[in-house]
C-alpha cells in the first residue's frame, strides 16, 4: 500500500511551484512534532526568539537528498487557530503570513497523533482552510499498530483533499514520504467541505465523520501508561516517587558532576600553566592567566553540572513524567497562588533562571506567568554554587550535624536552598495577593502517554544548552574578566602597575565600602559584588584575581585569604546576600525581553537587592 497520496492537480499549480523555501511544522501539543523536527533537520537547527515576543522560534534545514534543501520552522503546539496564548497567536500569524520577519510558509507539515486521531483531526479543518499545500502526517504509526488501531489512508486523503503519510518520527519510519512530498510539485489542498471553524462541536463532529468514513479504528488504551500511572499517581507511592526523583536529581548534580568538574578544572589549570610557561611578556602573561584563564575558567567549570541538570529535565519531560509531577505539585503551588504549570520552570530555575523564564511561556495565564518569572531568580541556580562552596568551605567547620547523615557544610548548603525557596514562595504570595491577583483560569493539563526519550532529542537539547552557556562564557564573562584586569592594573605609577588597592578597581571598591561595611564586607568583597552584577560566579574569579595580584604572583590560597579578610558574621552575611540578590545580567536581559519593558526587571532588581541587603545586615548583626 502506498501511504503517501498525491492529490491530482485539479487546482491550478501555484506559480514557480517546485521545492518550497519555507515549510511550517504545525501540530497539537504531544503530537511528536519536535521529534519529527529533530529527525528532519538533525544538527542543522537553531533556536531564536521571534522578534519582540517570548516564543522561541526553532528553524532548521532539511536536505531533500537531491542537493536541494528547505528551511523548516517548528511552530509552537496548538489546538486550534483561535489564539488563547501567545504561542497560538504566533502560530496563527506565521501561517497567515502576518508575522514580520518570518516568511509565509509555502507548505505545511501538519503533525497529528495517529493514536488519538479523531480529536487531533479537529486541527486539520482550520489548517486546510488556509489553502496552503499541506501534508498530513499521522505520527506514532508504531504505537497505532502495536495497540491494534487502523485507518484507511486512501479514503482519509480523499476526504481531506490533501496527501497523508503514516510516520513514526521516533524510529524514522515513513520519513522518506515527507521528503517525497517536499520534492514534488506542491498543490494546495483540494476544496472539501469544512465545518464552521469557530464552533468546536461542529469541528469535532466533522472530524468524527471523516474518521468514520476512513474506517478509523481507535487503538486500545495504552496499557503501560495506565500501569505506570497507577504507581506514579498512587496516593502514597506517587508523592514518594516524586520526592525520590527530586532528591535523585539533586544528588546526581552535586556528586556525579564532581569528577567531571574536576576534569574541566584540571584542563584549565594545565592549559593556564602551559600558557604561563610559553608567554614571556609579563603583562600579556598576567592578562591571559590572571585575567582570562582565571575568569572564564572559573565559570566553564560548571558546564558539566548544568548539562547534567538539563539531561534530567529532558528525560523527565520527554518521557511524560513531568506532566505527572506538575499534577502532584499543583496543590502545593496553589497554596502560594501559583499552579502546577509553574513547577516545571521553577525546577529548571535550580539550573539557571534564564531557561526557566523561557519555560514559563507554557503558562497561559499572563499574571501567573509574570509571578513565576519574578520569583524564578530566587531559586538557587547553579551560578550560586561556586560562591556557596567557596565560602562554606572556608568558614563552616566540617562537623557532623545529624550523626553521619548530614555534615554542617551540607546542612548549610541545604539551608541556603531552603532560604531561596522560601523567598520565592513568600514573594509569590505577596505578588498574587496584591499587584498580580488574577481570576484563576482553569488548570487543564494533558497527560501524554509515557514514551522512551530518544537519544537524538536528548543529545540535541544538551548540545543547544552547551552552546548557549559557552557563548555566554565567551562573551559576557570574557569581557568582564578583561575589564577587571585592566581596571586592576591602571593607572600606571612610574610605568609600573599599581598595588591593587590604588588601582581603578581598588578605588571603586573603596568608594562603595561605606555602603557595605555594615554588612561586614571590605573593599575587596565590594569589587567582587560589582563584577558579580554580570553573573554571580564572577565574584569567585574576581576574588581569585585580586588576592592573586595582591600577593604579587604568589597566589595565596583563596580560602585562607578570605578567612583573613572576612569575619564569620561577614561570611554568613555574604551567603545571605547571594541567596537573595539578582546578580545576573542574563536574567535581567531575559526578563526585559519576556515582559516587554524595563519596568519589571527594574522592580525585580531593586526588590531582590533590597531583600539581599537587609537580609545580610540582619544576619551580620545576629551572628556578630
Amino acid at each position: 500500500m502506498s501511504a503517501c497520496h498525491d492529490c491530482p492537480a485539479a487546482t491550478a499549480v501555484i506559480p514557480g511551484a517546485g521545492t518550497p523555501k519555507t515549510v511550517a511544522l504545525v501540530g497539537p501539543p504531544n503530537s511528536g512534532k519536535t521529534t519529527l523536527f529533530n529527525r528532519l533537520t538533525g544538527l542543522r537547527q537553531k533556536v531564536a526568539n521571534f522578534p519582540g515576543v517570548t516564543v522561541e522560534q526553532h528553524t532548521g534545514i532539511a536536505d531533500l537528498g537531491d542537493g536541494r534543501a528547505v528551511s523548516i520552522i517548528d511552530l509552537p503546539g496548538i489546538y486550534s487557530l483561535a489564539a488563547r496564548s501567545e504561542d497560538e497567536q504566533i502560530t496563527a500569524d506565521v501561517l497567515n503570513g502576518r508575522r514580520k520577519g518570518t516568511p509565509k510558509p509555502e507548505a505545511i507539515l501538519l503533525v497529528l497523533d495517529s493514536t488519538n486521531l479523531t480529536r487531533h483531526l479537529m486541527l486539520a479543518a482550520p489548517i486546510l482552510a488556509l489553502g496552503v499545500p499541506t501534508l498530513l502526517i499521522l505520527n506514532m504509526a508504531d504505537d497505532l499498530r502495536r495497540r491494534k488501531g487502523k485507518i484507511d489512508l486512501d479514503v482519509l486523503s480523499h476526504q481531506l483533499g490533501a496527501p497523508v503519510a503514516m510516520v513514526a518520527a521516533r524510529s524514522g519510519e515513513g520519513i522518506d514520504q515527507v521528503f517525497a512530498f517536499l520534492t514534488k510539485t506542491l498543490t494546495p489542498p483540494k476544496p472539501v467541505e469544512l465545518p464552521i471553524l469557530q464552533e468546536v462541536p461542529k469541528c469535532r463532529q466533522w472530524a468524527g465523520a471523516v474518521g468514520k468514513r476512513a474506517s478509523y479504528h481507535a487503538p486500545a488504551p495504552p496499557i503501560w501508561t495506565r500501569r505506570l500511572d497507577s504507581v506514579f499517581l498512587h496516593p502514597i507511592a506517587g508523592p514518594l516517587v516524586f520526592m525520590l526523583v527530586v532528591i535523585a536529581v539533586f544528588q546526581t548534580i552535586f556528586s556525579a558532576a564532581q569528577p567531571l568538574m574536576d576534569g574541566v578544572r584540571w584542563l584549565f589549570d594545565t592549559s593556564g600553566a602551559w600558557v604561563a610557561d610559553h608567554v614571556a611578556q609579563p603583562a600579556i602573561r598576567s592578562l591571559l592567566v590572571d585575567g582570562i584563564w582565571a575568569g572564564v575558567g572559573s565559570v566553564i567549570v560548571f558546564l558539566p553540572q548544568i548539562l547534567l541538570l538539563f539531561l534530567f529535565i529532558g528525560i523527565l519531560e520527554d518521557s511524560g513524567y513531568l506532566a505527572r509531577a506538575a499534577l502532584i505539585a499543583d496543590r502545593t503551588m496553589a497554596r502560594v497562588g501559583l499552579q502546577g504549570k509553574s513547577f516545571i520552570p521553577l525546577l529548571s530555575a535550580y539550573a539557571c533562571a534564564v531557561p526557566a523564564i523561557l519555560a514559563t511561556r507554557t503558562i497561559e495565564n499572563k499574571r501567573d506567568r509574570m509571578a513565576t518569572i519574578l520569583i524564578a531568580p530566587f531559586m538557587t541556580c547553579s551560578a550560586r554554587l561556586p560562591v556557596y562552596t567557596l565560602i562554606i568551605a572556608a568558614f563552616i567547620p566540617n562537623r557532623p550535624v545529624l550523626g553521619s547523615l548530614l555534615g554542617a557544610r551540607a546542612a548549610s548548603m541545604l539551608g541556603l536552598y531552603v532560604l531561596g525557596f522560601l523567598a520565592a514562595v513568600t514573594t509569590a504570595r505577596i505578588l498574587k495577593s496584591s499587584v498580580l491577583t488574577s481570576k484563576r483560569t482553569p488548570f487543564m493539563l494533558e497527560m501524554p502517554s509515557y514514551r522512551w526519550p530518544t537519544l537524538q532529542s536528548l543529545g540535541l537539547r544538551l548540545w543547544d544548552r552547551a552552546k548557549v552557556f559557552l557563548y555566554r562564557a565567551g562573551t559576557v564573562i570574557l569581557l568582564v574578566s578583561l575589564v577587571l584586569w585592566v581596571a586592576a592594573h591602571l593607572p600606571l605609577q612610574n610605568g609600573q602597575t599599581p598595588p591593587i588597592e590604588q588601582s581603578f578597581a581598588g578605588q571603586i571598591g573603596h568608594a562603595i565600602e561605606p555602603l557595605i561595611q555594615p554588612l561586614g564586607f571590605n573593599w575587596k568583597i565590594g569589587i567582587g559584588l560589582i563584577t558579580s552584577l554580570a553573573a554571580r560566579e564572577v565574584i569567585v574569579g574576581t576574588l581569585g584575581s585580586i588576592y592573586g595580584m595582591e600577593s604579587q604572583g604568589h597566589s595565596l590560597d583563596l580560602q585562607r585569604a578570605l578567612q583573613h579578610d572576612l569575619s564569620v558574621a561577614g561570611a554568613i552575611a555574604l551567603l545571605i546576600f547571594f541567596a537573595f540578590a539578582m546578580q545576573c545580567m542574563s536574567t535581567i536581559a531575559v526578563v526585559r525581553r519576556e515582559t516587554g519593558s524595563w519596568k519589571w526587571p527594574a522592580i525585580q532588581f531593586t526588590y531582590m537587592s533590597t531583600v539581599a541587603y537587609v537580609g545580610a545586615l540582619i544576619a551580620f548583626h545576629i551572628v556578630k
Binding site: N116, R119, Q205, R331, G340, R440, P442, E446
Partner: protein, 90 residues
C-alpha cells in the same frame, strides 16, 4: 457506570465521579474562552468522561475523555455538569 441516585437537588458535576466512574458531559458553565479550550481538549457536551487517578488529596484529577487524559482542578470540574444517559450526539 455511575449511579446518580442520591436525592441531591440540582445538576451533577464531574466532582461526583469517583475513580473509574463514567458519565456523559452535559454543559460547561464557564466563560466562552475557557469552555472553548476545554472543548478543544475533548470536553464536548455529550462526550463520555471517565474519572481516573488524582493528585494526593483528590485535587486535581485526571479525566479520560475522547482518547486523551486531561487533569482538571476541582474548582474547574465543579463547572462541568454530567448526566448518565447517552445523548448519542457524537
Amino acid at each position: 457506570m455511575l449511579q446518580l441516585t442520591g436525592n441531591k437537588t440540582g445538576s451533577y458535576t464531574l466532582l461526583e465521579l469517583q475513580k473509574g466512574d463514567t458519565a456523559f458531559l452535559d454543559k460547561i458553565n464557564l466563560p466562552a474562552d475557557d469552555a472553548r479550550r476545554l472543548m478543544e481538549l475533548g470536553f464536548l457536551p455529550g462526550m463520555r468522561v471517565t474519572a481516573g487517578h488524582c493528585a494526593p488529596g483528590g485535587d486535581p484529577r485526571v479525566f479520560q475523555v475522547d482518547g486523551s487524559e486531561v487533569a482538571l482542578r476541582r474548582e474547574t470540574a465543579a463547572h462541568l455538569t454530567i448526566r448518565t444517559d447517552a445523548p448519542g450526539v457524537l
